[in-house]
């Protein structure tokens, strides 16, 4: 019982941290053309995430691996039910990764333009797909004892799409703030401008999402029963408002921190609302996949808990160290003649 709850919490933490970290990669990628007006600026846009994107993506691999190890039934059904969206996600992530590596390896204009486009599209698609997928998970999937009754079109319902738009906008603001912090001069100012411009739209969508969640899902049930958990959505809203206050005060680093908290708390709100479900069924609660009916054996959960308790803190320590090593702002001058950069 306790171990299933521990792994449910860890599952939520892994997803939250993944979105917080890959969120600014996706965001800066979506803004690749909007902020990067020329080749030099685009190189800056890629190189500000260069040292960290790969490590950030591993949180997704770990979230997938943890789902497999701790909740194998959920892993099996979630991945096979969402076959086509996951496939698109995979293609996008594959192309995104090689785009960063390949773009600078040739000098032709067409070559660079092609990979620039790939960077923008393959950062946008995962943001949207993750949003649509999580929106539908919040809402519940049409599954019963006979299997899955949905399709790709089924997932494109208004609530799923709204969540998709929410994720895209969250990451755009997040990425714009990251670029503001990590670049200098005109590029940084432009990024801050984008963050400020998109922020009101994000706020409207976030309010709509919170309101629509009430009729569309059962996420609020847990909060009504245990109001103490309301701290998560309240923090999400406070941090979201904080972003704008802090950018107005010319404190982009603090605004980026607020954006991190916003994303962490939005995902936390969803996950708390889901508990004990990992994937609820909207065809009857008895068909929902929960932390209790889809988990591994106690023995496996215990082993995995020991592994996580030892290694996750180590990972966090060296990741923080790496962010410190690369804390400096990046300029075009840094990249001229640097054959190691992207």
């Amino acid at each position: 019982m306790e171990f299933q709850i521990i792994w449910f919490v860890l599952w939520g933490v892994l997803w939250s941290v993944y979105f917080m970290l890959d969120g600014f990669v996706m965001g800066s990628g979506m803004l690749h053309h909007i902020l990067g007006k020329n080749d030099g600026e685009r190189r800056v846009m890629i190189n500000i995430i260069g040292p960290v994107w790969d490590g950030n993506e591993v949180w997704l691999i770990t979230a997938g691996g943890a789902t497999f190890a701790a909740f194998p039934t959920t892993y099996a059904l979630m991945f096979s039910y969402l076959y086509t969206p996951l496939l698109l996600l995979l293609f996008a992530l594959i192309v995104r990764g090689v785009s960063y590596e390949f773009r600078g390896k040739e000098n032709g204009a067409t070559w660079k333009k092609g990979w620039d486009l790939a960077i923008a599209v393959c950062n946008f698609l995962p943001a949207l797909l993750f949003g649509v997928a999580f929106g539908n998970i919040f809402r519940g999937l049409p599954m019963d004892g006979a299997g899955y009754h949905g399709s790709l079109l089924y997932l494109l319902n208004p609530y799923g799409l709204l969540t998709g738009v929410l994720f895209v906008l969250l990451f755009v603001v997040h990425g714009a703030l990251y670029a503001t912090v990590k670049t200098t001069g005109e590029l940084s100012a432009r990024a801050l401008g984008v963050a400020n411009k998109v922020w009101p739209v994000l706020t409207v969508v976030a309010v709509a999402f919170l309101a629509y969640t009430y009729p569309a899902t059962r996420l609020y049930d847990n909060f009504l029963q245990h109001p103490v958990f309301l701290v998560a959505p309240l923090l999400a809203v406070a941090a979201l408002l904080g972003i704008r206050v802090l950018t107005a005060q010319q404190k982009p680093l603090a605004a980026f921190a607020a954006s991190c908290i916003t994303i962490l708390m939005v995902v936390a709100t969803g996950v708390i609302g889901l508990f004990p479900n990992l994937i609820p069924s909207n065809m009857g609660a008895e068909f929902s996949l929960t932390a209790f009916n889809s988990s591994s054996s106690l023995y496996t959960l215990k082993i995995m808990t020991v592994v996580a308790a030892i290694f996750v803190p180590i990972v966090i320590v060296y990741k923080i160290w790496v962010y410190r090593v690369f804390r400096a702002k990046l300029t075009i001058e840094d990249l001229v003649g640097n054959k190691h950069a992207y």
Partner: protein, 448 residues
């Protein structure tokens, strides 16, 4: 064609493609780390230039290896949901551990290594590439323990309608998993050794930077002679484990139909699966199969006829892949031994015929790696988990033909395109050779 066949084909396509890039990564990461360590210890700038040149090729190769690895993890759930549900209690653990323990380290420190040249000290920079190399190799350990469990399931009990882990220690000390790991590491190292020797040979033939490439060739040859020999040793132990734990696979590898004691090996042999015999059997080396199987010339080898036809692996592809792999492995010992002896003097650039052979030998260890996996995976059929679960019971129930056709076509086109681009870039940067101007290079910062 059905969902099962297409899903198997897709797993084969994506797995084999992933495995074009992994073996080189396993070995070249270590060699680049070695070169950089030599630079840090000696200050000799040729070692620095070697680190940068071979490091660049390493990175171009590394990128595709990483991104195609995600597909492997996702596919278990997407196409093999019944498998994942049935054995996830055991099989998920090594995958999750791999991500947490190894993949994080590899992915985080590769960033430090690429972008950290003038941000961290010399020593920390060299440590970063060592952490990448260790991460990559430890990653292989967990993946092969997972695969080893499919080959030889241990430490579990069938309970609650699935396989549940009862003994983690048994899973991580699975002899098949561990010997597979050892065999795979040295096979990957051999790919890297031949890669470095082959590209060095190309430049030596052209007369480009002879000092640089002679030294590179020597590094490759020294490493290669050790690893090619270890491939044979680990392969021998591996065969013994297979004979003991997967006798049907072993029988298919050697195309043995009748159970025999003190079985010899026919150097010329061709299986005839339809008639359950061999159509060609000539040039017998007495007792050799028995010796290979159990290190005992009088041991008894179980023939394929002992198994129901439905429980035998396809004999022809397993047999041919095994022979091809073993033949290539033997060739590598000879080539790397010659390379080692010749590279000890200073006149390797005058042995043009040999350099030409080494240039064209670059793809061979890659092929041997692929053949090895064909033996391992086709030889396990019809089981997905040997003796526990059939492959035909493992496929997802909720996916349909259109989805799998779509994904298979998508993967083939995307991977085909990316593969061409990657190999083009590898060839381009390999041909270009190292930068000669050391003064313009970014060097590691002083002690921080």
């Amino acid at each position: 064609m059905d969902v099962l066949t297409l899903s198997r084909l897709q797993f084969a396509v994506t797995g084999m493609f992933h495995f074009i890039f992994v073996p080189l990564t396993l070995g070249i990461s270590i060699l680049v780390a070695y070169m950089e360590t030599r630079y840090v210890l000696s200050g000799d700038e040729t070692w620095l230039r070697m680190t940068k040149f071979w490091g660049k090729l390493f990175l171009i190769n590394f990128a595709l290896g990483v991104v195609t690895g995600i597909t492997m993890e996702f596919q278990f759930g997407m196409n093999w949901a019944e498998y994942s549900r049935y054995v996830g209690d055991i099989f998920g653990a090594p995958l999750a551990i791999e991500a947490t323990v190894a993949f994080f380290m590899e992915s985080v420190f590769i960033g430090v290594w690429i972008f950290g040249w003038n941000k961290v000290s010399k020593r920390l920079h060299a440590i970063s590439i060592w952490l990448v190399a260790i991460g990559t190799n430890v990653s292989a350990l967990w993946i092969l323990l997972a695969n080893g469990w499919m080959q030889h399931p241990v430490g579990y009990v069938l309970r609650n309608g699935r396989a549940e882990m009862t003994d983690f220690l048994a899973v991580v000390t699975n002899p098949i998993g561990l010997i597979k790991f050892a065999h795979q590491l040295v096979s990957g190292y051999t790919v890297a050794a031949f890669f470095i020797m082959g590209i060095s040979a190309y430049h030596l033939l052209k007369g480009n930077q002879p000092a640089f490439f002679k030294r590179s060739f020597r590094v490759g040859a020294t490493f290669g002679v050790a690893t090619a020999f270890l491939v044979l040793v680990t392969g021998d132990f591996h065969a013994v484990e297979v004979a003991r734990n997967q006798p049907a696979k072993f029988a298919a590898m050697e195309s043995v139909w009748e159970t025999r004691q003190g079985l010899g090996m026919y150097l010329l042999l061709f299986p005839d699966a339809a008639n359950q015999c061999n159509s060609v059997e000539a040039l017998c080396v007495p007792k050799l199969v028995s010796i290979l199987a159990y290190h005992d010339p009088e041991s008894t080898i179980k023939g394929l006829k002992e198994y129901l036809p439905a429980e035998r692996p396809p004999v022809l592809p397993v047999f041919l892949s095994f022979r091809a792999m073993a033949g290539l492995g033997t060739l590598f010992i000879g080539l790397s031994l010659l390379a080692f002896l010749m590279s000890r003097g200073d006149n390797i650039d005058r042995r043009r015929w040999f350099l030409r052979i080494m240039l064209y030998a670059i793809p061979l260890p890659y092929l041997a790696n692929q053949f090895g996996w064909l033996v391992a995976e086709i030889g396990r059929q019809p089981w997905i988990v040997y003796g526990v679960m059939k492959t035909s019971d493992a496929v997802s129930k909720s996916i349909d033909m259109a989805q799998v056709v779509g994904s298979l076509v998508g993967f083939t086109l995307l991977y085909g395109f990316l593969g061409v681009v990657d190999i083009y870039l590898l060839a381009k940067y390999a041909r270009k050779g190292p930068d000669e101007d050391v003064s313009a290079m970014i060097k590691p910062a002083g002690e921080v």
